[in-house]
């Protein structure tokens, strides 16, 4: 029996009924990692021994007659951007080689308290910058559906490992689409919660007004279980809000009768594959057949979102990555240096990869004297217009249904020499991020050459539950 393929509820009941042990579930995950991950390269670190200890704790608890929670003994993988105490955390940058954080990210603390068995750290684009996991110092992660293609990014390892059943759920981060796009490419669920819904304490910052933490799961119900544990205010992240967290398991009825579903026409335009559009329209028809009302809407500022993102994100990133200076964090330069400023140049020049340098340069430029108004200020104003677009749409509809990525997984190297083309791949995920809205990628179809295609459900702030309800309706396609 492949216990690693079971959903969270079945693992829990199997453990409680002593049909199998947490150790056996873990060993099934480790066996797949051993046999398959050489070619996929989704894990950058497998924490086998620590995981065995965590699994045994759960098994001992069960043997001792204690009650266990839903996530206890369930194996998970974490993007290598989450601080794990005493366990190497690199953001897949050679700059952070050997870095062992002195504390856990809040999300890791919460998952640990809920009994997570952490199988390891997952591959990503360096400092979460990229849409293909090709910008990792550990090498590219391959797509389990086609090894010539990318798994997406930046949380590519999290999506590929889960899609290959190397863990039962995984965690990622999403700034402009870094959970949703790899989820779509690999055929799993990926949630970008409302901005401020999940703590980012202990998660390396990229663009602070955009970054969120989000889970990957194989079922909608699993998503509810994980969100139940990680959502909510954290005193260590002042951008989390004290908004009530509902029990997400209460949103899995899948009843969409009377629900108003908006199809924004700008998401089906030029550059979006016909196949991808067809999959979303099929999802709309299915919801309509179940009693939902499909309404055509317009989000006229959609085409400006990528430009807003590529002004404001590098600006915030360039400020956040100042801390990687070879003094507080980072591997010092191996060259001789004359003074501290020279040390910065050499250390940062050696430590950061190409895409990071490119973004630091853009960010520094748009924030520099004389250019702030033309770029950063303008970007933040247009961001306001994008938010108003969504506000108006949500006066007419309950959720929006769109493609996730304009196309399915592309080939390794296909967009490598063209940064702008790579940026355009995020055109349909960036707008919801600009407005801080919750959005989820749900697997719904496949391309003619067998690649997964996801659909994106976007809802107003704090309505992750509503998204899960719609996703549940679409789950049995």
């Amino acid at each position: 029996m492949s216990l690693n393929k079971l959903n969270i509820r079945d693992i829990n009941s199997g453990l409680v009924e002593k049909k199998f042990s947490a150790t056996e579930v873990l060993e099934d995950c480790l066996a797949v990692i051993k046999s398959k991950d050489k070619e996929l390269n989704s894990f950058v670190l497998v924490t086998e021994e620590e995981a065995r200890v965590q699994a045994k704790v759960v098994d001992d608890k069960i043997a001792g007659g204690e009650k266990i929670g839903a996530l206890e003994g369930v194996p998970a993988g974490l993007k290598d951007i989450f601080n794990t105490k005493g366990i190497q955390t690199t953001c897949c940058s050679k700059f952070l080689k050997g870095f062992k954080p002195p504390y856990n990210a809040t999300v890791v603390e919460r998952l640990n308290s809920a009994g997570m068995v952490m199988v390891g750290k997952l591959n990503m684009d360096e400092f979460a910058c990229g849409g293909s996991t090709e910008h990792s110092c550990f090498g590219v992660t391959k797509n389990p559906h086609d090894l010539e293609r990318v798994a997406g990014g930046s949380s590519g390892g999290s999506a590929a490992a889960l899609a290959s059943d190397m863990c039962v759920y995984s965690m990622g981060t999403d700034t402009g689409g870094s959970v949703r796009q790899p989820a779509s490419f690999c055929g799993v669920y990926g949630m970008k919660p409302t901005y401020g819904r999940v703590s980012r304490s202990g998660v390396t910052a990229m663009a602070s007004s955009w970054d969120v933490v989000g889970p990957f799961t194989r079922t909608v119900e699993d998503m509810a279980y994980v969100m139940n544990v990680i959502a909510g205010k954290d005193k260590y992240d002042s951008t989390t809000l004290d908004v009530e967290v509902p029990d997400y398991l209460g949103f899995l009825g899948g009843d969409v009768k009377g629900l108003k579903v908006g199809l924004p026409k700008e998401y089906f335009g030029e550059g979006v594959d016909d196949e991808t559009c067809e999959v979303v329209k099929k999802a709309a028809s299915k919801l309509e057949a179940m009693g939902a009302e499909i309404i055509n809407v317009s989000l006229s500022k959609t085409k400006y979102a990528v430009a807003v993102y590529y002004v404001t994100m590098p600006a915030e990133l360039s400020a956040n990555l100042e801390r990687f200076d070879g003094i507080r964090y980072g591997v010092p330069t191996s060259q001789e240096y004359s003074d501290t400023v020279d040390y910065y140049y050499k250390t940062r020049g050696e430590g950061f990869g190409d895409e990071i340098k490119r973004r630091i340069m853009i960010g520094t430029y748009v924030l520099s004297a004389g250019y702030y108004d033309a770029y950063y200020k303008k970007g933040q104003q247009v961001r306001t217009l994008i938010i108003e677009d969504f506000d108006n749409a949500f006066k007419k509809v309950d959720v929006l249904l769109t493609p996730v990525s304009p196309f399915p997984a592309f080939k390794v190297g296909e967009l490598a020499d063209n940064p702008l083309a790579m940026y355009m791949a995020d055109a349909l995920t960036i707008p919801a991020s600009a407005a801080g809205l919750p959005a989820m990628s749900c697997p719904f179809g496949t391309s003619k050459n067998g690649l997964p295609i996801g659909v994106q459900i976007i809802a107003p702030h704090w309505q992750e539950g509503r998204i899960m309800n719609v996703a549940k309706a679409l789950e049995s396609f």
């Binding site: 070879g326 003074d339 020049g349 430029y365 306001t384």
Partner: protein, 95 residues
């Protein structure tokens, strides 16, 4: 269009040591991105508020207290690869 000189100046501001090859390459990429984001100028944003954050939070205050619950000063200092001396990180003289 950004010139090579301007690119070098930005790299200096960012304390980022770049090779000549990188300066040349990033010049092309930066100009591509800056040209692309010109699209924002199509929109009239006179009087439009700036969005710095998206959930309506105003200033978030807390007591100014040291919280050692997550880790100690020594553990934090240990994350530096530079020598630590009297609870401070030792660097070469700056001025």
């Amino acid at each position: 269009m950004l010139t090579e000189k301007e690119v070098r100046h930005v790299a200096k501001l960012a304390r980022l040591g770049l090779s000549d090859e990188e300066v040349e390459r990033f010049k092309v990429h930066m100009n591509g991105v800056l040209e692309y984001v010109e699209v924002l100028q199509e929109l009239d944003t006179t009087g439009v508020e700036l969005t710095a954050q998206v959930t309506g939070l105003k200033n978030v205050m807390r007591e100014d207290e040291i919280d050692n619950q997550k880790c100690t000063r020594e553990e934090l200092l240990a994350t530096s690869e530079m020598p630590v001396d009297s609870s401070q990180i030792r660097v070469k003289r700056t001025i």
